[in-house]
Amino acid sequence: MSKLKTSKFGLGLAAGAMALGLSTAGIAAEHASGFNGIGKNITDKAIEPWDISVFYDGTNLPKGSGSVADGEQPYQAQCAMCHGDFGEGAEGYPKMAGDPMPQFINSLKQGLDGVGNRGVNNAWGHAPTLFDMIKRHMPFYAPGTMGVDESYAVTCYVLNLGGIVDMDFTCSDETLADVEMPSAEYFVTDTRPDTNNQRCMSDCTDEEPEVVYSAVEGVSG
């Protein structure tokens, strides 16, 4: 009967079941959480090795540092084969440095193709994000294997390739959040819906449709 006492919600059902000699005390009534006894508590200390995410403003950057100069050797050894000696990209892998900001914005305004020209100097709003990404995801063939100082160093080197920090700069948990990214002020949050089509059913246009076909056959696949 001790089961009955611990069940806050099952009394009505249980009373009926007692007559049958069965216990239905385990059947939770509708307001029970359905979570009783499930899972384990965990301390922040135990979570720490997984708690790696760095915020845009530098919150949670790990202690450490690395300069542009420190980053040259590891960048050339572990990164350049995919991202190019000067960050220009190689074998179809992404560029580190894209179009400089004024040119990037000009392409947008003129409708020129700027899609392949993104890089740390135009689409990355915050330097701590770059550290976070490189530390967790690069080098591509062995993600997450670089140490903290080495990650600061290659981050610094990549920032220098993008013309964002000088040769003598040192990246660290104290300096990275203050690095001014060229694109930071251009970001705006979702402004959609930005179209307003109408549900017209008949005689919706007088114009003959101008139909454009695929310029190249067989680009699929």
Binding site: F35, K109, T129
Partner: protein, 456 residues
């Protein structure tokens, strides 16, 4: 008698038997033809004006008639017929340098329902699909909570379960068509979207259990693959890194979220996040973190690599739009489509799929004259929130050229835009969320082509 009055007694066919049913179909057809002003039935075909061939050779048994087939469990996990070998996911080799950080497409041109079979769900990986052992995998929930907790896969299965059918769509769906027509298959114009029945634990139930601080306005989710992919997810009161509020609808999306362990009744596939993934219906699928290992409740966005470098929209006014999270309504005709030729004149059924990240599909209209006139299509049940809805409309092909297209309106009243309307506000470099009306051109030869209409 109108078609509508005939439709009001759908049950009677079965009860009245074959002869009557045939007569009924004949009546219905005549009405439809008369309504479209078509010629009366030609000799040799009681149903319309297209002459039918007549088979005179006596039929022969096929090659399977006199042999034994395979025994049960000869294929312990069943596979499609060998004749369906071309119904597969495909990728576009020139899109990415590596298949390990890449995308594949669902062949919607070959699907007939709203559910994507698990082996055909589109894939998007940033460091490849991994095999995570459910015996050792754990999920941590922490941050602004009363009780930081850790759960095994068995723990998650004990919890109250939640099942719902939802689509997942990569915001890059259609991206290759922003600047002009490129792809000659529907798989590549619309295949970065799939729809499944998902089962898991509701995020809001877990939030109650761990006691999330009401001051928490964001959470983020993280995977255990090589990219340790992470995305920030807004809740009520969420503000961006500059203090600007996020749109109210994107702050409600988490209410439908779940920690999913099953997909169409079976365990998730490794490519889709086995053993557990975050599932955020209505939002760009990149947020539905696969191989989920951690959820943290916080009061600001991370602004991750994905949120600043990838899923942004550089606009012609010189701004870069961020946090465009919701997938707006979209639709496409998947029969006929460029993957097929028309097979002779006469009757067809135009069929397609429509979906909206903001809720249910309310209407789908179809045009066969390039957008001058539209007719409302029939929506096929079930019509569910943030789920693919199938639509259909009868069509008589007389061998003429047609520009066919579909246009969805969702329950919020949002009407799918034209490509010109999208380009006018977003230019050519925004890449993502291209949900414009898709036109296919039926040529006189019966060929079906992917086209764009450049003037409206």
């Amino acid at each position: 008698m109108s078609e509508t009055t005939l439709d009001q007694t759908p049950q009677s066919d079965a009860r009245e038997g074959v002869a009557s049913s045939d007569r009924r179909k004949f009546l219905r057809k005549s009405v439809a033809l008369a309504a479209t002003g078509a010629a009366a039935a030609a000799a040799g075909n009681a149903y319309g004006d297209v002459d039918l061939e007549t088979v005179k050779e006596p039929l022969e048994d096929g090659p399977t008639r006199n042999i034994l087939g395979r025994g049960v469990v000869s294929v312990p996990y069943g596979m499609p017929s060998k004749f369906e070998k071309d119904v597969v996911r495909r990728n576009v080799s020139w899109l990415t340098a590596d298949t390990v950080a890449s995308i594949s497409f669902t062949p919607w041109q070959d699907l007939n329902g709203i559910i994507t079979p698990n082996g055909l769900h589109f894939e998007r990986h940033h460091a490849g699909a991994v095999d995570v052992d459910p015996e050792t995998h754990q999920l941590v929930i922490h941050g602004m909570v009363d009780k930081p907790m850790i759960f095994s896969m068995d723990d998650l299965k004990r919890m109250p379960s939640h099942t719902a059918i939802h689509f997942l769509e990569c915001p890059a769906n259609g991206a290759m068509e922003w600047r002009g027509v490129q792809m000659d298959s529907m798989q590549f114009t619309h295949g970065m979207m799939s729809c499944s029945e998902w089962t898991g634990v509701k995020l809001t139930d877990l939030m109650e259990y761990v006691g999330v601080d009401p001051k928490s306005t964001w959470l983020y989710a993280e995977g255990t693959d090589g990219s340790a992919l992470q995305r920030s997810i807004p809740m009520e009161g969420a503000k961006d890194q500059f203090g600007e509020p996020l749109p109210a609808d994107s702050c409600e999306m988490y209410k439908d979220a779940m920690i999913a362990y099953a997909q169409n009744g079976e365990a998730l596939r490794p490519e889709n996040g086995y053993p557990i993934r975050f599932l955020l219906p209505g939002c760009e699928a990149n947020m539905s973190i696969k191989w989920l290992r951690r959820i943290k409740f916080v009061d600001k966005p991370l602004v991750t690599y994905q949120e600043t470098r990838h899923y942004i929209e550089p606009l012609p006014d010189g701004t870069i739009r961020q946090f465009t999270l919701v997938n707006e309504a979209n639709s496409v005709i998947n029969y006929p489509c460029p993957d097929y030729q028309m097979k002779g004149k006469g009757a067809y059924e135009i069929r397609g799929i429509a979906w909206s990240g903001r809720g249910k599909v309310a209407h789908v209209d179809v045009s066969v004259d390039g957008g001058k006139n539209w007719q409302e299509a029939e929506l096929v049940e079930p019509v569910l929130s943030k789920c693919v809805t199938k639509f259909k409309l009868p069509f008589e092909w007389k061998g003429d050229e047609h520009l066919i297209m579909s246009r969805v309106t969702d329950e919020t009243g949002y009407v799918q835009p034209t490509l010109m309307q999208l380009r006018k506000v977003r230019g050519f470099n925004s890449i993502y969320h291209k949900n414009s009306i898709q036109a296919w051109k039926i040529e006189k030869t019966g060929e079906v082509k992917n086209v764009q209409i450049e003037n409206f």
